[in-house]
């Protein structure tokens, strides 16, 4: 039994370590990206409204969370301008990529919430596509109720958790 436990532990270490290593790599690429970016920008920044640096500075592009009503996947009108500017950015920079991370509040069943989170991610994807972004630039991931930003059990906590985060994996 002890040796079994050791094998399980070892497997867990390998898996956890490789998972971490992968993440560290992503982080590294992101950390060094400003340099690469400058060169890219100088060489072939497509003409348009935005520069790549605007992701960090532009008031609209810095907004990257779309919130939802309870049990709803409808994008509220207040988020239309946010959707429009990200769509515009993605249209301009065809090599940019986003992950649309769908989330729900804690209420109800975890598995169903995974489905609901994906539906919200898809709603944002459709809106971005309708506004000019290519669907090949977008990847929807659902975390359901697994990644709350507020662990409270109140309406205000739930409202913060029902969201889609627009995460740039490549800018």
């Amino acid at each position: 039994m002890n040796s079994t436990l050791r094998i399980i532990a070892l497997a867990a270490i390998v898996v956890a370590a490789s998972a971490c290593a992968k993440k560290a790599q992503v982080k590294e690429t992101m950390d060094t990206s400003p340099r690469t970016e400058t060169t890219t920008t100088e060489r072939s920044d497509p003409a348009g409204r935005y520069s790549r640096g605007d992701l960090d500075t532009d008031a609209c592009l810095r907004q990257r969370v779309v919130y939802f009503d309870f049990d709803s996947t409808a994008i509220r009108s207040e988020f239309q301008s946010q959707i429009a500017c990200h769509a515009e950015y993605l249209r301009q920079f065809s090599d940019a990529r986003v992950s649309l991370e769908g989330n729900t509040d804690e209420r109800g069943s975890r598995e169903y919430n995974l489905g609901l989170g994906e539906r919200r991610g898809n709603a944002v994807q459709s809106a971005l596509s309708a506004a000019g972004a290519s669907s090949s630039q977008q990847n929807v991931v659902s975390y359901g109720e697994e990644r709350p930003v507020d662990r409270g059990h109140s309406e205000s906590a739930w409202g913060k958790n029902r969201r889609v985060e627009i995460v740039y994996s490549s800018r």
């Binding site: 079994t4 436990l5 094998i7 399980i8 532990a9 070892l10 497997a11 867990a12 270490i13 898996v15 956890a16 370590a17 998972a19 971490c20 290593a21 993440k23 560290a24 982080k27 590294e28 950390d31 049990d71 804690e106 209420r107 109800g108 069943s109 975890r110 598995e111 169903y112 995974l114 489905g115 609901l116 994906e118 539906r119 990847n139 929807v140 991931v141 659902s142 975390y143 697994e146 990644r147 709350p148 930003v149 662990r151 059990h153």
Partner: protein, 436 residues
């Protein structure tokens, strides 16, 4: 970058050295309410009559605690036990009558071959002095708790007529720490929360453990790759297999009753549908084809059909579909929200999460009468899982300051709380009967 490096080092070290330490972190159980019609039973401490060191484990006490936990029995407190018979000839029934006990359980522990323990037990009807059952169970000293749970199972079955499920295991997920440094663990423990063992540790969420019918494997969902993926892990060898990591959702694994297939939810085709995978060939059959969210498959015991949750009528409800696909039939009609079915008793009873407004509780549907019995009083109760004998339902409650597990009798009259010393407990799954 440097912090990230240290995180990795720390995590690897924690994985190496944290393993034994974690094993000590068990669930503690409080009985939150009792059953007035419970049967009074006295369990006399089992005396050790061997010649080596007495075992650390108090076998009689574990038998007593199991019977008390079932809700079917009211056990005599240890301090009220005034006589200590270890065999029939030493029992004076008038004493136990005076103490108003209906049943008496006695026993003794001795040394078996090769350093094993040998526990002999007997149970009596106090009124008539009739010997109901007696026997011997042997095992390694390290398995003394297993011996005790098996004795409790025999006594329980003899008195109630229902097979005991104390000698079973449960799986659950724990989440310890504060975001973004939460440590998730998939755990397996005895049905009373003892002997917790870590199967998987991850910095990302773990979900939906599901037992193979022979109890040798667990299927579960892990987000360690950044997206949901389904794994099957062998409990004895620790060997782990990635069975599904498609684009989109990979969730809700459920072993078929013959253990050869795995039902699951996949959304790579655009939206979540139910699929059944043949585990040997890995070939996949699509069972539902609907634009709705179809999740949470549960096999009927005959393996011919599946229950699942779908919001095809607007809100989530429970549906039944043939295990080879075809038209789905809605089976839950009471309540706005019904999800996550757990099936018991040849499909005659179905536990589910029933939601109304902000309140989500566990209800058991009797398919014969169509009646629902609400068995949980919380606000955010979820993930019901029947014990293999149908006597209890394990579920998670997250509406309190942290997630805890409850086990409730299937009629909702008795409830116990299983609490982790630190952090959240969730996603319980009660394992199958074990074979000696």
């Amino acid at each position: 970058m440097q912090t990230r490096f240290f995180q990795i080092v720390f995590l690897s070290l924690a994985l190496c050295f944290g393993f034994r330490e974690v094993s000590a972190q068990g669930l503690t159980i409080d009985i939150t309410n009792g059953n007035p019609s419970a049967l009074p039973v006295a369990v006399v401490p089992f005396a050790y009559q061997g010649s080596s060191t007495p075992p650390d484990t108090d076998i009689g006490e574990i038998v007593r605690a199991d019977l008390a936990r079932s809700g079917k029995f009211k056990t005599l407190p240890k301090q009220d036990v005034v006589e200590f018979p270890t065999r029939e000839s030493e029992v004076r029934f008038p004493t136990w009558k005076l103490l108003k006990q209906d049943y008496l359980v006695i026993g003794r522990v001795s040394d078996g071959a090769d350093g094993t323990l040998r526990a002999e037990y007997e149970a009596f009807l106090v009124g008539s002095g009739q010997r109901l059952v007696g026997g011997v169970i042997s095992g390694q000293r390290s398995a003394a708790r297993d011996i005790a749970h098996q004795i409790a199972d025999v006594v329980y079955e003899k008195i109630t007529g229902v097979r005991g499920a104390f000698w079973t295991r449960i799986a659950y997920v724990t989440a310890v720490g504060v975001s973004p440094r939460i440590q998730y663990q998939l755990m397996v423990a005895d049905s009373d929360g003892y002997n917790p063992q870590t199967l998987v540790r991850s910095a990302e969420s773990l979900m939906s453990p599901s037992w193979s019918p022979d109890g040798t494997k667990l299927a579960y969902v892990s987000f360690e790759s950044g997206n949901s993926a389904i794994y099957v892990q062998d409990l004895t060898t620790g060997q782990r297999q990635l069975v599904s990591s498609n684009r989109g959702i990979n969730s809700g694994p459920a072993f078929s009753p013959d253990g050869r297939k795995l039902a699951m939810t996949l959304s790579f085709a655009g939206n979540p549908d139910i699929y059944v995978m043949d585990l040997a060939s890995k070939s996949r059959t699509q069972i539902t084809k609907h634009y709705a969210i179809d999740v949470e498959s549960a096999w009927m015991p005959d393996g011919q059909s599946l229950l699942f949750t779908s919001d095809r009528s607007g809100k989530p409800q429970i549906y039944e579909v043939s295990a080879s696909g075809g038209e789905a039939r809605r089976i839950s009609f009471t309540g706005q929200y019904n999800a996550r079915a757990s099936i018991c008793c040849e499909g005659k009873q179905i536990a589910m999460v029933q939601g109304s407004g902000n309140v989500y509780r566990i209800a058991v549907l009797d398919r014969g009468t169509g009646q629902y019995t609400q068995i949980s009083p919380g606000n955010q109760d979820e993930s019901p899982s029947f014990a293999p004998n149908g006597s209890m339902v394990l579920y998670a409650s997250s509406g309190e300051s942290r997630g805890v597990l409850y086990s409730a009798s299937a009629d909702g009259r008795v409830r116990q709380r299983l609490v982790l010393a630190d952090g959240d407990v969730r996603e319980p799954a009660w394992g199958p009967f074990r074979q000696r």
